[in-house]
């Protein structure tokens, strides 16, 4: 497969991910992951130190679905949305059917009363299944620059 086609497919997946979260289509968020997948939100300090417990973790697609269901039906918090801005997407490596991709992001949090703050910054460290279109995440590690969260983390980053 040519490099440009891979880059376009990766860009589409990463853009789709931000859109589904920011436009409150959370039910469609787990579909962007492969059946066998891993999702982790963790602070940079811990990640670099080789620690493994972050703030959110899913080792299966079922765990992603449960996260969405819990946010919708069980957890109580003030209504808010995110706006993701994803920076340069770096295709680091392609091995067989897996692309290793790194990108930067900032996320603003917009509360229901309009209060807008910079909520999170960091990097996405992705392993993307490129065996078929559309591409899907085998793994997305969300490495937060800070290990401090304002108030709580409900919606995935």
């Amino acid at each position: 497969m040519d490099d440009v086609a891979i880059r376009l497919g990766v860009q589409e997946l990463i853009g789709d991910y931000a859109e589904r979260i920011d436009e409150d289509r959370l039910e469609e968020w787990p579909d962007l992951f492969a059946e066998s997948c891993r999702y982790l939100v963790i602070g940079r300090h811990d990640h670099e130190a080789g620690m493994r417990q972050g703030m959110m973790y899913a080792a299966t697609k079922g765990m992603l679905l449960d996260r969405v269901f819990s946010i919708r039906r069980a957890n109580i918090f003030e209504a808010h949305r995110y706006r993701h801005v994803v920076g340069p997407i770096r295709l680091k490596e392609v091995t067989g059917q897996v692309a290793v991709v790194h990108s930067h992001f900032i996320v603003a949090r917009i509360m229901h009363d309009g209060a807008t703050t910079l909520f999170a910054t960091g990097r996405y460290l992705d392993r993307i299944d490129i065996s078929a279109a559309p591409y899907r995440f085998n793994e997305r590690i969300v490495v937060l620059d800070s290990d401090k969260i304002d108030t709580l983390l409900a919606i995935p980053l």
Partner: protein, 414 residues
């Protein structure tokens, strides 16, 4: 900011001598907050500092805070754990700027004053001047200066510190029940699986009370009921220490019955409200006593939790009258195999800033704080289970919250 001895003579007035009506102004009053720093955090209390495993080698240090006061904890060459205020005696500069590390000595960046690992001043740059001019006067003696000492104690691999020279030793102060609760959870050598913190828009006490509040859990945190996870909870109880401020609550679980319940659930088709992946609650009885939840607090700001197979230390740090930081330190043990670690990580979704049964606690204190904004007259009601702060064999009670106020009032002197 408060200055020692200059805090108000009296704190916020109370409606009675009791501990079941709490004046709302204790959460909003700046003078009260300043007084708490002096009388609680710098008073006769033991405060969590770090884990002994973070101080494995001589020179290993952790910079932390007791209340708002910056403190350093370090292991010295003799293997002893020392703690002192993170403030150079010379001009009051912050001596240690990193969170954690290893040093041979502490060297102040401002004027190069040096302290050994016991906090003793050992070096003063240009002490004798330059070319016999300047320098410290002859009566100045380094031996007479040291960093302000903080007493330390260790229990179950947890390091505590106190500013008080008179508070009883840690175990006596905690009492036999709470000491037993600490040692039950910390019965192996821990390692840190991760750590993060939440910045909460509320007074620190609102969070600490929340942890002691066994009443709210099944009402505010709907995760377990929404997913129809039959908790099959057997009676638990609450132990409250003599001072009232430290406690633990516990509940048992019939692990075998719960396993059977999962298997049955998988056979049924009403799966809309079922977990797709139940590994987030699949737990083992790692202590062999059937206790699935033990929440323990150490006055004024430390929590040790076992929720199923998640083990964590939480530290509540006041950061102004309407702001607090909550640090989560997630633990595993040296006996864990990969399956146990993975189990802890999956169950880790229950707790922390994004925890299924903890995220609400990050915001509910802020809601209270907002409601009290310029509307802090009157008193809250803490009467579930009576007016006293005694240990109880049930959990539908606010006894542990009353215990907090019992200890609080005795130290605040109001």
């Amino acid at each position: 900011m408060s200055q020692s001895g200059l805090t108000a003579e009296h704190g916020v007035p109370w409606p009675s001598n009791g501990i079941s009506e709490i004046p709302f102004r204790v959460y909003t009053d700046q003078d009260q907050y300043d007084r708490e720093q002096e009388r609680l955090f710098k008073g006769p209390t033991w405060n969590y500092l770090c884990l002994t495993v973070e101080l494995a080698k001589p020179g290993d240090f952790v910079a932390t805070t007791i209340g708002e006061t910056a403190v350093i904890v370090v292991r010295d060459a003799a293997g002893e754990i020392n703690a002192f205020v993170n403030r150079c005696v010379h001009r009051g500069n912050l001596l240690c700027l990193e969170r954690q590390g290893n040093v041979k000595e502490f060297n102040c960046i401002y004027h190069g004053w040096i302290y050994n690992l016991t906090g003793q001043l050992t070096g003063v740059a240009f002490e004798h001047g330059v070319q016999r001019q300047g320098g410290m006067p002859p009566e100045f003696r380094k031996e007479e200066h040291r960093l302000q000492r903080v007493r330390t104690a260790v229990l179950g691999g947890l390091v505590f510190g106190t500013f008080s020279e008179t508070v009883p030793d840690l175990e006596t102060w905690l009492g036999p029940d709470v000491t037993r609760g600490v040692l039950r959870v910390m019965n192996r050598t821990p390692h840190i699986l991760g750590r993060n913190s939440q910045v909460m828009p509320n007074n620190w006490k609102l969070y600490f009370e929340n942890v002691k509040d066994t009443y709210h859990a099944s009402i505010l945190h709907l995760f377990l009921t929404t997913f129809k996870i039959n908790r099959l909870t057997m009676p638990g109880g609450i132990y409250i220490n003599k001072d009232g401020g430290s406690h633990y609550s516990f509940a048992k679980l019939d692990y075998a019955a719960e396993d059977a319940e999962y298997k049955n659930a998988n056979l049924r088709s009403d799966s809309e409200f079922r977990l797709q992946d139940s590994s987030v609650v699949e737990s083992v009885d790692e202590y062999g006593d059937g206790v699935s939840v033990q929440i323990l607090t150490v006055f004024p700001g430390m929590v040790l939790q076992q929720i199923r197979n998640t083990i964590a230390v939480r530290v509540v740090r006041p950061r102004g009258v309407d702001k607090a930081e909550l640090e989560w330190i997630y633990l595993g043990f040296d006996t864990d195999d990969e399956a146990m670690t993975e189990r802890r990580l999956r169950q880790g979704n229950l707790i922390g800033p994004a925890g299924y049964i903890s995220m609400e606690d990050g915001c509910v204190g802020g809601f209270v704080q907002r409601a009290l904004q310029y509307n802090d007259d009157g008193a809250g009601i803490v009467m579930m289970g009576g007016h006293e702060a005694e240990s109880q064999p049930f959990r539908a009670s606010e006894a542990a919250i009353r215990g907090f106020w019992k200890h609080y009032r005795s130290l605040m002197g109001d």
